[in-house]
């Protein structure tokens, strides 16, 4: 009951409403991602109470992921990377004059996926938290290592690049006074760096400045909408839901699971769910020509992934994607350490959070409907006007956290490095996970070693710790194991032939 009171007050509702509009806008403008929306929001949430701050982030991310479908449908340009998997389908429908129908089913699937993911979050997180209560430094060490390893092995593209990107994040996490000896590391005599790298300027640099630089590095864009949309948004939705409800459930389940894995967010969830849907479909030949089925699978998956990412973030403090990585940073700033105790401290905060999730997803229906009707307004907003405003917001936002110019420099340097990495196809998600989890790994390692007098075997002495350790080792050996398996298979095939 406590939680309801925390959410249902004028301020929080107002924040949710404003965040919805902000999220829809950022999501619907091509080139601005959901992560960027959240990174831009953080300087503002810094000055809010915990519940409105979290509500703003939850609402913004959910809305942005849906709204990414709008330019995808009209322009064939995904508004956020999470919509990339199925822009082909929705744009093909739009060309047939069914743009609003496509967006209508997108919207309903997004809402369904979001609520599905939230229910899983409510059910699973609570019971996981009871297990997590038994964890000590050994288990948290392995859990963080597992999270870091996942982010390498799940990432799309080169694993070497994901590995290097991760190490860049870990290196940033070592800046500041060492926990054990108090010795300054990589502070270069700058007093502001003693307490460690400030998280928010890094996020703004990595996700906003980096995108701004790619925008200015690219040729100027011309956005024109050539499709007609005279159809109705919700008219055909009941029919599609009745036909494809299994896809909605399957997409949402896949999305929640993928979202919960560290380093894999809504975009990967959508790709995988789309792939699974295509593989299992009866008429997979229709994929790519404007198939509602593909949209249903992937659109449920990306929104449920957003909710799923909160499971490990809340229970273990291990972010499931880059958005929850930011959230963990915000929680720490508010003096609230994510972990099992969050579920038991009786503050009602966790229930307030669940209510926010449900509320945000339900509000997506009316606000999303409005956004679909007004979509032209959003996607024709010229980037040339928008980008300079975002840049100035970044500068002032980075400064605002500590009222320090050092943070603006930090944003600039990290943004430059992130841009160089991104144009060379290095993924960014491992870097941000490295920054969040790097210190978790190091601090837990050091305190475990202090407790056991430097005995490395102690990491395998407790059952859960040993289990997690073996999981990490297996994950690292998996490419080798898969190779060996394929080699054996080929050998036996050749022998039989």
């Amino acid at each position: 009951m406590n939680g309801v009171g925390l959410v249902l007050n004028f301020d929080t509702i107002l924040v949710i409403l404003a965040a919805s509009l902000f999220g829809i806008f950022v999501g619907a403008v091509p080139g601005l991602t959901a992560t960027m929306a959240v990174a831009l929001l953080v300087p503002l949430t810094f000055y809010m109470d915990t519940i409105p701050a979290i509500a703003a982030i939850v609402t913004t991310s959910a809305m942005a992921i849906f709204a990414g479908d709008i330019p995808g449908t009209y322009l064939n340009i995904p508004g956020t990377p999470a919509s990339a998997a199925y822009v082909g389908e929705s744009h093909a429908l739009a060309k047939k004059g069914r743009a609003r129908e496509a967006l209508g089913i997108n919207l309903v699937c997004s809402v369904f996926g979001g609520i599905f993911g939230t229910i899983i979050l409510i059910v699973v997180a609570q019971s996981l938290a009871e297990v997590a209560l038994k964890f000590s430094a050994f288990e948290y060490f392995w859990l963080a290592v597992l999270g870091l390893s996942c982010s390498i092995f799940i990432s799309v593209g080169s694993r070497t690049k994901a590995f290097l990107s991760l190490l860049f994040g870990v290196l940033l996490s070592t800046v500041g006074l060492d926990m054990m000896s108090g010795a300054p590391r990589f502070t270069f005599g700058v007093p502001d760096l003693m307490a460690g790298i400030n998280f928010i300027p890094v996020m703004i640099g990595m996700f906003a400045l980096n995108e701004l630089m790619s925008y200015y590095g690219s040729k100027s864009e011309k956005k024109t909408i050539s499709v007609v949309d005279k159809d109705s948004v919700f008219h055909n939705v009941p029919r599609h839901v009745k036909r494809y409800w299994r896809n909605m459930v399957r997409g949402s389940s896949i999305g929640t699971m993928i979202g919960a894995l560290p380093g894999a967010g809504a975009d990967i969830a959508a790709w995988i769910s789309y792939g699974v849907g295509k593989g299992r479909s009866k008429d997979s030949s229709k994929y790519g020509t404007g198939n509602i089925e593909g949209i249903v699978d992937a659109s449920s998956a990306n929104n449920s992934g957003i909710s799923g990412a909160w499971v490990p973030a809340l229970v273990f403090g291990i972010p499931g994607d880059s958005i929850t990585a930011i959230v963990i940073g915000v929680l720490y700033m508010k003096g609230m350490n994510p972990g099992p105790t969050i579920f038991m401290d009786g503050s009602g905060l966790i229930y307030a959070l669940f209510i926010v999730f449900i509320l945000a997803n339900l509000m997506m229906l009316p606000i999303g409907y409005m956004a679909i009707r007004l979509s032209k307004l959003f996607i024709l907003t010229p980037s040339r006007v928008l980008m300079p405003i975002i840049l100035c917001f970044c500068i002032v936002g980075a400064f605002a956290i500590n009222n320090s110019v050092v943070d603006i420099w930090l944003m600039l340097i990290v943004g430059l490095v992130a841009y160089l990495l991104a144009v060379n196809d290095f993924p960014m998600a491992p870097a941000i996970l490295g920054l969040v989890l790097g210190s978790v790994v190091e601090n837990n390692f050091m305190s475990a070693m202090l407790r056991t007098g430097g005995d490395l075997t102690s990491f395998f002495a407790r059952p859960i710790s040993a289990g997690l350790g073996i999981a990490v080792i297996l994950l690292w050996c998996s490419p080798l194991l898969i190779k060996a398996y394929r080699y054996q298979k080929r050998k036996s095939e050749r022998a039989s032939a």
Binding site: T174, C392, V396
Partner: protein, 164 residues
């Protein structure tokens, strides 16, 4: 080719990290000192960088050998284009850091917005109105609502109305 440079860059960064980490003090009572994790990261940079470089060189050789066999004119890949304008945001940030103490935050961000909009061929009156309105809005939100002491600037002498 870019991967080769990126790999070499990471290897250099790795060596610098390791050398810097060796200068961190160690405590005799601790088996693992503050230099452990930075050194591991440095080592990882070296290994990852080496793998990246060698992989890229190996693939280039393979691709070159194949292409020369197929069609010798295609052996060189076209250079990738990267717009020079990507330096604009960093320059704008440095300009803000240097100029905001004198011009004040509000005037500085107005100038940045206005110039960046014009560079991308926004109509001049649109650019002027948007940059003035938006910079006032940002300044107002941060200084009045969030109480951030944004630089007022010597030029205006603290004459802006909403800050005491």
């Amino acid at each position: 080719m870019r991967d080769v440079f990126a790999g070499i860059g990471f290897m250099i960064a790795g060596i610098v990290t390791i050398i810097t980490a060796q200068q961190f003090p160690t405590l005799p009572s601790l088996q693992y000192g503050p230099s452990l994790f930075p050194s591991l990261v440095g080592g990882g940079f070296c290994i990852g960088g080496a793998v990246l470089t060698l992989n890229s060189l190996w693939q280039r050789r393979k691709a070159a050998a194949q292409e020369v066999q197929d069609d010798p004119t295609l052996a060189t890949s076209p250079p990738e284009k990267m717009g020079w304008a990507m330096v604009l945001p960093p320059i704008a940030i440095v300009f803000y850091i240097l100029a905001s103490d004198y011009l004040g935050a509000m005037l500085t961000i107005t100038i940045i917005m206005f110039l960046l909009m014009l560079l991308r061929k926004t109509k001049i009156y649109v650019a002027l109105i948007t940059s003035v309105v938006m910079s006032s809005a940002i300044y107002f939100i941060f200084s009045h609502y969030l109480l951030i002491p944004l630089p007022q600037g010597v030029l205006l002498g603290g004459s802006l109305p909403w800050i005491s």
